[in-house]
């Protein structure tokens, strides 16, 4: 075994050769600024695209679908922070989404609370709940964690169904008011589009920042080797709980938006199927890629609209997509981006550094 490794290893060249050192220093400085600028440029282009899209989508129905793409993007980004970066699975994220929606719904529709305040209360409550649950649950790894989060999602789902006095049970909760800003009421698809996508853009920005920071590195370190991460002084357990709470909090905000956009919520939207759908979005887009999550969310939101005939079998199609993606494209659709770009430019891209780009 030792020989095999030896053959594979090249001797370190240019150990202390000053000339290559100075050259490479300059080169590195260049690439750092280049990386930051490119990240900013990506966000700017994406923002402009989001702002202009309603001009192309005049039809109200498409705009309505795009509102849901925005909400699903927030959810996928939230799950990606946990699954793609920290490497921890959750099959119960629809539950946090639902909790946000129901807390907002009940506080505003039943108790007449201000919707914005309700959204904050929901986010705070769900974040704290996830934080507390996170400590025992994230001790588990792999399949056990999947089962535990699955159970959590199911418990929350059952609560929505059974606490009829509070949530209206299976028939749902109606009469949730729209969000307002001064005299502006977000009551049509166009307004909701800009409302939701403002949140989505903020979520993208925060997630990209986080991914390219000390915390993002620590999360990816945990993903790659939890043992090594701990030996580097990274408090893996606490960090996993923190990102779980953050992820749940983001889902809750998406849930609140959903409640106010729909003005009606029912338990069926927050079941196990939707949790699987979220995982599919993240994997289709690409684990550890924020824009990939948006892409995954867009595809999985538009797909059912395009494949209306398959409506009842959507979970089968998601399952199939999951299997095919993990078999043939484990890096997700974004891993195709360099290939695509090189085809576009007609030259080969240099290898390396792909993972860090969020």
């Amino acid at each position: 075994m030792a020989e095999g490794r030896m053959r594979g290893s090249a001797a370190p060249n240019n150990l202390y050769f000053p000339l290559t050192l100075t050259l490479s220093l300059r080169e590195r400085e260049f690439s750092r600024q280049y990386h930051l600028k490119r990240e900013l440029l990506k966000f700017a282009i994406f923002t402009i695209l989001v702002l202009l899209l309603p001009l192309a989508a005049k039809e109200g129905y498409i705009l309505n679908v795009l509102v849901f793409v925005g909400i699903h993007s927030i959810l996928a980004i939230a799950l990606n922070l946990l699954l793609g970066y920290a490497g921890q699975i959750s099959l119960g994220h629809a539950g946090f989404f639902g909790l946000g929606a129901y807390i907002s719904g009940v506080l505003t529709a039943t108790h007449g609370q201000n919707p914005w305040l309700a959204m904050c209360y929901a986010a705070g409550a769900v974040g704290i709940l996830a934080f507390v649950i996170g400590f025992p649950i994230l001790k588990l790894k792999g399949h056990y964690l999947a089962m535990a989060t699955l159970g959590l999602g199911i418990i929350i789902y059952i609560l929505f169904n059974e606490t009829v006095d509070l949530t209206g049970g299976p028939s749902g909760l109606s009469g949730i008011p729209n969000l307002t800003l001064g005299t502006l009421t977000f009551d049509n698809d166009l307004k909701n589009y800009y409302l939701v996508w403002t949140f989505t853009l903020v979520a993208i920005l925060l997630a990209v920042n986080l991914a390219n920071s000390r915390i993002g590195r620590a999360l990816r370190a945990i993903h790659d080797s939890e043992t090594a991460a701990r030996l580097m002084g990274i408090n893996a357990r606490f960090l996993k709980v923190q990102v779980f709470a953050l992820s749940a909090l983001l889902c809750s905000v998406a849930g609140s938006l959903y409640a106010h956009v729909m003005t009606f919520v029912a338990p069926a939207s927050f079941g196990f199927n939707f949790s699987v759908e979220l995982v599919t979005m993240v994997i289709i887009g690409g684990l550890g890629s924020i824009y990939g999550s948006v892409l995954g969310a867009a595809i999985l939101t538009l797909l059912p609209e395009l494949l209306r005939a398959f409506q009842d079998y959507d979970i089968i199609i998601y399952g199939l997509i999951l299997i095919l993606m993990t078999m043939f494209l484990p890096g997700g659709l974004v891993s195709m981006a360099p290939v695509f770009m090189s085809l576009l430019r007609g030259r080969r891209k240099q290898p390396g550094g792909a993972h860090a780009e969020a």
Partner: protein, 250 residues
């Protein structure tokens, strides 16, 4: 510096370590040697907090550190490298070292997500220091490669750079020469000496006797979970028990 006091480790009915006591003096390079199954790696796993201790105590600079988890011990200055490399394979070479600077930076989730001014400044400091550590081991030119793309020898250097980024007091190296060719081993010996010169106490588990006898000032010999002997390289080479254990095994 580091003191082990009658340390034992049991796995079920198996006694992997039995009443091991020794002292590692500050600023020295200490080698731990012994045949396979002598308990050397178990010893490392105990010192770095990966295994719970069954019996006995460990002291770092006279403070009892028995039973502290790995991440706390890393903060206290006990850092290690691995025989089979435990790099963060999906991160770049530079990011690996930057991750090693985790304990020496403090921006939390909120500061990072909002990219607050001091987070930007800290990030720049982390990056610059990480580049210096890459220079130290001679990996500057590979900074932007993915760590998993590095050949084994360079991967080992990266592990050392990452460990150094924590500014350890005590650096434990598990078979640093394993898988290296003779030239790489020679360069490694130079690197280990430079690490010691920067004031870090080094402990290595190693099979390459030439390397051990060359760079170590102190040697602890383990056999079947017990300490067999302790002394300078010359004393060890002349110790009849050690010779017997090695010949007996060999």
């Amino acid at each position: 510096m580091l003191r082990l006091d009658r340390v034992s480790k049991r796995f079920g009915g198996l006694l992997a370590l039995e009443d091991v006591s020794f002292r590692i003096s500050e600023g020295a390079i200490t080698g731990i040697i012994g045949p396979n199954g002598a308990g050397k790696t178990t010893l490392f796993n105990i010192i770095t907090g990966l295994y719970d201790i069954s019996d006995g105590d460990v002291f770092l600079s006279d403070a009892r550190i028995t039973g502290l988890p790995a991440e706390k011990l890393a903060v206290k200055g006990i850092v290690r490298t691995f025989q089979n490399l435990e790099l963060f394979g999906n991160m770049t070479v530079l990011e690996n070292v930057m991750a090693g600077l985790h304990t020496r930076s403090r921006c939390g989730m909120v500061a990072c997500a909002l990219k607050l001014p001091w987070q930007i400044a800290e990030e720049r400091r982390i990056r610059e220091e990480a580049l210096q550590w890459l220079d130290f081991v001679g990996l500057s030119d590979d900074a932007r490669l993915k760590a998993s793309e590095l050949p084994f020898g360079k991967g080992r250097l990266l592990e050392i750079a990452r460990a150094m980024a924590l500014k350890p007091k005590l650096l434990l190296m598990d078979e640093p020469a394993a898988g290296l060719n003779s030239r790489e081993t020679l360069e490694l010996a130079g690197l280990i000496r430079r690490i010691r010169e920067s004031g870090i106490t080094v402990v290595l588990v190693e099979h390459d006797m030439e390397l051990v006898m060359d760079i170590c000032e102190q040697i602890v010999v383990m056999n079947l979970g017990r300490k067999l002997a302790e002394g300078t390289p010359r004393e060890i080479q002349e110790n009849p028990e050690v010779i017997a254990a090695y010949l007996g095994e060999g």
